[in-house]
């Protein structure tokens, strides 16, 4: 089960997640009702991003449109729209956007504005001969703008972290709860060995999970691995070790399984999701949060995996990130051993 769940998750999220705004439902208030306005609407409807879901008859209905949360924008085409276009005069249209999710609202406004101005210029260009600079845009690494190349490394970082932290934390605390930890402690084993032997099985299990995630990403999600496999595994090895150490630390500070689980899940999940950079760009965060994001191991792992898998970069570009993770590993290991000894006395 521990094995199957992460795999299902990576697949599900790899296919489902994308921040693109496909099929956004829009409502239209067409006061012009001419061939031109119909053409514009047709063009919008054909676009992958938008679906015209409703025609409104009066501006009194505007408020009600947003109440169910289904439609995100109203396009208001005023009277005289076609007349202005045909005479090449100033024309305006109005967009009323549901602003609750500003990010979404900005994207919707931008795309709709682009479609509309495109429509307008095409109408004008037929009449005059103007000079144009055309952009020739190439999308590197991910030409179809899929969500997976961005989300799979992120989800991978998150799942590995939480699985490792939870598994080790719980397994050690369980020994405390049932009392078997006492037996281990009075045995002639060194504390370091107890820690290591607790972590090693989970290290192998995590590597197995990693392998299966990678195989599925390549075969089903069509994600490339451009870089060196060896480097990929070396980096993952370090990351998994950091996560296992985190789990050990949590187990040292907690007494019951419930505590350990609550801390691992409550304390790890949201911070990793939000601060590792795969959901929200770190450069947009307030400075204190940018600083905090540096102690999130997943941030560094995500950066490296993205580089190795999708860009195919080598060690010479990611060595700084790797060094940070190695540093975390060292610190956690020292702290874990120190704290573990204290319990002995």
């Amino acid at each position: 089960m521990i094995f199957g769940m992460p795999i299902v998750q990576v697949l599900l999220f790899g296919f489902a997640l994308s921040t693109e705004i496909k099929n956004t439902k829009i409502a239209v208030f067409d006061q012009d009702k001419t061939q031109e306005s119909a053409q514009l609407l047709e063009k919008i409807n054909q676009n992958l991003y938008f679906d015209i879901a409703e025609n409104i008859r009066s501006d009194k209905e505007f408020e009600q449109v947003f109440k169910t949360g289904e439609k995100k924008v109203i396009l208001n085409i005023p009277r005289g729209f076609s007349k202005n276009i045909n005479n090449a005069e100033k024309t305006d249209i109005q967009l009323i956007v549901d602003g609750i999710d500003i990010n979404l609202a900005n994207q919707i406004t931008n795309f709709l504005e682009n479609i509309a101005t495109d429509f307008y210029t095409k109408k004008q260009l037929q009449t005059t001969n103007q000079m144009v600079i055309k952009p020739e845009i190439r999308m590197l690494y991910n030409p179809q703008l899929k969500g997976a190349p961005n989300f799979v490394p992120g989800v991978m970082a998150m799942i590995l972290l939480i699985v490792c932290v939870m598994m080790t934390a719980i397994s050690i605390v369980k020994e405390k709860e049932t009392g078997t930890m006492e037996i281990l402690l009075v045995s002639p084993m060194k504390p370091a060995f107890i820690i290591i032997s607790k972590a090693v099985p989970y290290l192998f299990l995590s590597l197995l999970i990693l392998v299966s995630i990678l195989i599925l990403s390549v075969t089903l999600l069509e994600l490339p691995i451009h870089g060196s496999l060896f480097l990929l595994f070396a980096v993952s090895f370090v990351y998994i070790t950091v996560s296992l150490l985190l789990g050990i630390l949590i187990s040292i500070f907690t007494q019951t399984q419930q505590q350990a689980m609550l801390i691992s899940l409550l304390g790890m999940m949201l911070p990793t999701l939000l601060l590792s950079g795969f959901m929200f760009p770190i450069e947009n965060m307030p400075i204190p949060l940018q600083v905090i994001s540096n102690i999130i191991p997943a941030k560094w792992y995500y950066l490296m995996i993205k580089n190795i898998m999708i860009k195919g970069t080598g060690l010479f570009i990611i060595w700084k990130e790797l060094l940070v993770l190695l540093g975390m590993m060292g610190v956690l290991f020292v702290v874990a051993i120190k704290k573990f000894k204290i319990r002995l006395e």
């Binding site: 439902k25 100033k90 024309t91 956007v97 990010n103 103007q130």
Partner: protein, 374 residues
């Protein structure tokens, strides 16, 4: 019957309050997260780092670059004549896109009336790439107009008098508050996490410690036992939600436009769903570890498929169907709609029916699956 129930509830509360550290985790951890994390979620695409390869070095190319940077979306990280050097900055994630202006750009534009510039965008983050391209195209369109006025004075007048203006207005959020969508979402997620986890672990813990045997041999009724397990967490969930609501009102300044009573009515039903879900897991698992993993599996799916971070409309069809079974999806919608848009019960009919259905199904399955002599 009620005496039995009230004794059971008292017992649960005693167990909860006895464990001070768990109590702290239940209340403090979610609140800390609600206080800190929404600040992180700014998806506005600005500060796009540009690597400019200018092989023309003309007034025109400099004008163009100037127009691009003064738009506010872009800033120049690299400027030079070498494509390879620019590409390296892209590879190191220092820059997000390369803009290449070819040799004799200005000369050829005047001669041929048309020129191409090439733009290469790092598209691993598809959204950011798409938006960068859109921004650049829009800037170029304006720039085209500008140079036409400059080079073709005969049609300048005509160009100036034409043009399409798209006036956009933002509703429900005049102050550009980035936290408006995220705070209610995270609040709902946190009560799901706390209530779901506590109830999922609860019966299992009694199984593991062995106290469930004692309850099984006592004359406590099955329904009373389940209710006694549910009601304390239901109350706790309400308390956590209330604290969160206060934080969102007084710290984030999110005003509650809708009816509070209606909001709590929905919270009450939603907590039934979550607790039913937790109980169901609890009855299926043998150890706390098992319960935890199953819970983690679903919680991840709940949050990432809820539409909080990525729009549901952009998922493939089969994935959208999965979200119909995601209670978090409905509840986030509901809380947003009531708080921010003053939606009424009649607007929320689909959501409420889905939640009630889930509450009934989860809870009856849990009761049915909990075998007293198990």
């Amino acid at each position: 019957m009620f005496r039995q129930l009230s004794i059971l509830i008292k017992k649960e509360f005693r167990q909860i309050f006895r464990n001070k550290s768990i109590l702290a985790i239940i209340f403090v951890a979610p609140m800390m997260q609600l206080l800190i994390l929404p600040l992180a979620a700014n998806y506005e695409i600005k500060n796009i780092n540009l690597a400019v390869v200018d092989q023309d070095h003309s007034t025109l190319s400099r004008d163009l670059i100037n127009d691009i940077t003064s738009s506010g979306y872009f800033r120049i990280y690299y400027y030079g004549a070498s494509y390879d050097a620019a590409y390296e900055t892209l590879e190191e994630e220092k820059s997000d896109l390369i803009l290449q202006i070819p040799q004799n750009f200005e000369k050829n534009l005047v001669r041929e009336n048309s020129q191409k510039i090439s733009i290469a965008i790092n598209a691993i983050n598809g959204t950011k790439a798409g938006l960068s391209g859109t921004y650049l195209s829009a800037i170029l369109k304006k720039f085209n107009q500008k140079i036409n006025i400059q080079y073709h004075p005969q049609i300048a007048e005509k160009i100036k008098n034409s043009g399409l203006e798209v006036r956009s207005s933002l509703w429900f959020n005049q102050t550009y508050n980035y936290r408006l969508s995220l705070v209610p979402g995270i609040l709902v997620f946190l009560i799901t996490l706390v209530a779901g986890m506590l109830s999922a672990l609860n019966i299992v813990a009694e199984k593991e410690i062995g106290t469930i045997e004692q309850i099984n041999v006592s004359p406590i009724k099955k329904s009373n036992f389940i209710l006694g397990k549910t009601i304390p967490f239901w109350i706790l969930g309400n308390v956590v939600f209330t604290i969160g609501l206060l934080i969102s009102r007084f710290i984030y300044g999110i005003e509650i436009h809708g009816n509070l009573l209606l909001l709590y009515f929905f919270v009450a039903i939603y907590l039934m769903v979550v607790l039913g879900y937790g109980l169901l897991i609890s009855t299926f698992s043998e150890t706390q570890q098992q319960a935890m993993f199953i819970n983690f599996f679903f919680v991840m799916i709940f949050i990432l498929m809820s539409g909080l971070f990525t729009p549901i409309e952009s998922m493939p069809n089969w994935a959208q169907k999965i979200t119909y079974f995601n209670p978090l999806r409905y509840m986030i919608e509901i809380v947003r709609l009531i708080i921010l848009k003053d939606s009424k019960l009649t607007d929320l009919f689909p959501q409420i029916s889905a939640l009630i259905a889930m509450a009934v199904v989860f809870n009856s399955l849990a009761i049915w699956n909990y075998r007293k002599r198990g």
